[in-house]
Symmetry: C2
Subunit: 455 residues, 2 copies
Amino acid sequence: MSEKIPYKIYLTENELPDSWYNVRADMKNKPAPLINPGTHKPCTADELKPVFCEELVKQELNDTDAYIPIPDGIREFYRMYRPSPLIRAYCLEKKLGTPAKIYYKFEGNNTSGSHKLNSAIAQAYYAKEQGLKGVTTETGAGQWGTAMSMACSYFDLDCQVYMVKVSYEQKPFRREVMRTYGAKVTPSPSDTTEVGRKILSEFPETGGSLGCAISEAVEAAVTQEGYRYVLGSVLSQVVLHQSVIGLEAMAAMDKYGIKPDVIIGCAGGGSNLGGLMSPFVGRKLRGEADYQFIAVEPASCPSLTRGSYLYDFCDTGHVCPLAKMYTLGSEFMPSPNHAGGLRYHGMSSILSQLYHDKILQARSVEQTAVFAAAEQFARVEGILPAPESSHAIKVAIDEAMECKKTGEAKTILFGLTGTGYFDMYAYKAYNEGTMTDYIPTDEDIAKALKNVPKV
Amino acid sequence: MSEKIPYKIYLTENELPDSWYNVRADMKNKPAPLINPGTHKPCTADELKPVFCEELVKQELNDTDAYIPIPDGIREFYRMYRPSPLIRAYCLEKKLGTPAKIYYKFEGNNTSGSHKLNSAIAQAYYAKEQGLKGVTTETGAGQWGTAMSMACSYFDLDCQVYMVKVSYEQKPFRREVMRTYGAKVTPSPSDTTEVGRKILSEFPETGGSLGCAISEAVEAAVTQEGYRYVLGSVLSQVVLHQSVIGLEAMAAMDKYGIKPDVIIGCAGGGSNLGGLMSPFVGRKLRGEADYQFIAVEPASCPSLTRGSYLYDFCDTGHVCPLAKMYTLGSEFMPSPNHAGGLRYHGMSSILSQLYHDKILQARSVEQTAVFAAAEQFARVEGILPAPESSHAIKVAIDEAMECKKTGEAKTILFGLTGTGYFDMYAYKAYNEGTMTDYIPTDEDIAKALKNVPKV
């Protein structure tokens, strides 16, 4: 195709995918099932239904159907901000002087500021269809809580968000956006749940953690009539919903005859990279094409690169099913100097299995290098990236610079999951040279893994 | 055209306008020229060149050429974030139950968070072409400073921003974004300029004003070798650059056979509404079509609805040329409870003349009503609007509700200039019910007008 690739490839609304792609259907080695922490047997639909919406339970357990139709009510909402643009980073390529061709799929063009909205609207839709009053959830950095607030506001659902206390205090504006969308935001741990009160009595000074906020949100869901719990990452249903990112990216690239060599995404719980890579992984698994996949995680929370592959608790309060995943242990807490999200101790069971099968690679990067890449990117590409997204930028730049050395003109695709407007404290620390790095010791990790259940 | 109008109409990059449209060329009654405050004669190019870039001086004085080509270097940058989407507010229409068809041109899809980037990149480009070292400017709410920082960073120009002190203190994150783009940000009034020191000695406790920051930035430009001053609104060159908004909106609407009946924009200095309406005004002036144009201003800073049409100072320090405009007097200060921008005492001479000639109408609205409209909009349309943009939303909703009463199915187009991510203090006040309104008394306005020069 000789036509010049535009800066931004926008699919039309008619080209919006009509189904999500379920990569599990094409995986020969299926991700290990969630198991009941008491019986150690795979969770049944009936066990999961008190916690999750019925339709979402079906999706969570479905590892055979490759395509699951996106209901019209969800596609209608998607049309407000999707298809999202696939952007050719011409300015970055020029600045780096690389022969590589760099593309990024930009998911920050909506008020939640990230890709999280893709799954939030789906989960809210099914809650509404089920006739529920509302949902409970947790949020760390705040993107998921914001996305869920927006989605619930659209469907007139009550939204109760447990926000990790340290974020609640450091990010008052995130909280305010959620309130503007009508959500009730509670700092976690709180005295509104039993598990919260227990943690508070043991650690009255704690700033909270994602694992703890999950426990509180689950308890709040199961103890209120007409409520269910929703989660923004880790679960297979979330990777399924996020496949809309990859499907659009693939359609846009196919349209222009572009074939990515390397596909890169940041990975905390795995929702964004899982979504971006899913349809490409499908092609690879079916033997139709080959790609290199790279998960980028913070050196301060390195679940893939330094974790163990085993069944672990998904939450601190141990109220959730067990998941087999690369984990640092549910007690693991990234150091307080860690900015932004990507602080979950485990990883999506889909990504974990793909990593275990060597289809997915992983790298960990330190945050000052991440912010240096973020600033370099912002200055030439215009977009101020979220700290999480900047992990992918860092490795995309590394790959492009490697191409400069070798002369290879690789095509790089990375996921730009969101914007950094609510992360200016972290940018300030970087600008002022006070940002520091932290790498947990082997002892830190071994200690956090001690409480892993025996399965 | 029977095809369903999509949610978002995106022009292709090939449809990006190749010229700006200069509405002055089609105006029978030309806007009054800038005059020299000493001689009271129209400013010559030679008088303006020590302050502004040469090419921009030409554009400022050009009221005859209808189309001025956009240089490739600027179009290249525009491609990073333009054409911006024209969005059909289907969800808002449904929520309001109105027969009106509502469209908005969304300019918040870039990191500066507003339309200001359209002129910032043009002004930076001409500064670079002229071989300058850098530029000086002022910023109030922060959008313009952010936009100028981004533009200067792209062209490797030094950027010195005088930020109204009260904003500097209340909006540390805006400041941080500018620093991330490499700008030097100084709270104004400061001791770095003579005019700043003078104001500080008279009013040591002042929180500053836009008029005062302009005076400092101009002084900084003329006293440093290789620097010029740039301004984000009010000037005719800015309305010219912003015409890209209106040209795209018109092209997108023409493509789908849509004809707006009412065109609405918020108006502080007039840059956004001027840009959006320009090509439509051209059609109206040439007798090709008719439209109703409405400028929306805050009741707390009502230059069109309650100001006087006369020559006034553009800045507090009186170092700038005089402009004929609707003005509240250069001493006018909106009450401290006023949130966001739209706080300039005057108005673009182009908009002023059009208002004087009854081509443009104006309405003033109070801020609690504006934030109520903002919240209503955010919850159904997804986008969290800037307080400034929400003035236009408020009147668009009013017009749509009027249609609901009368049964008329008017087509409404409004400018959604930007996002509110950095305005969460104001949203917080609204959410908590502590936001108040303020309308200046006739005495307040009469007092501020006392120092208007005798021309």
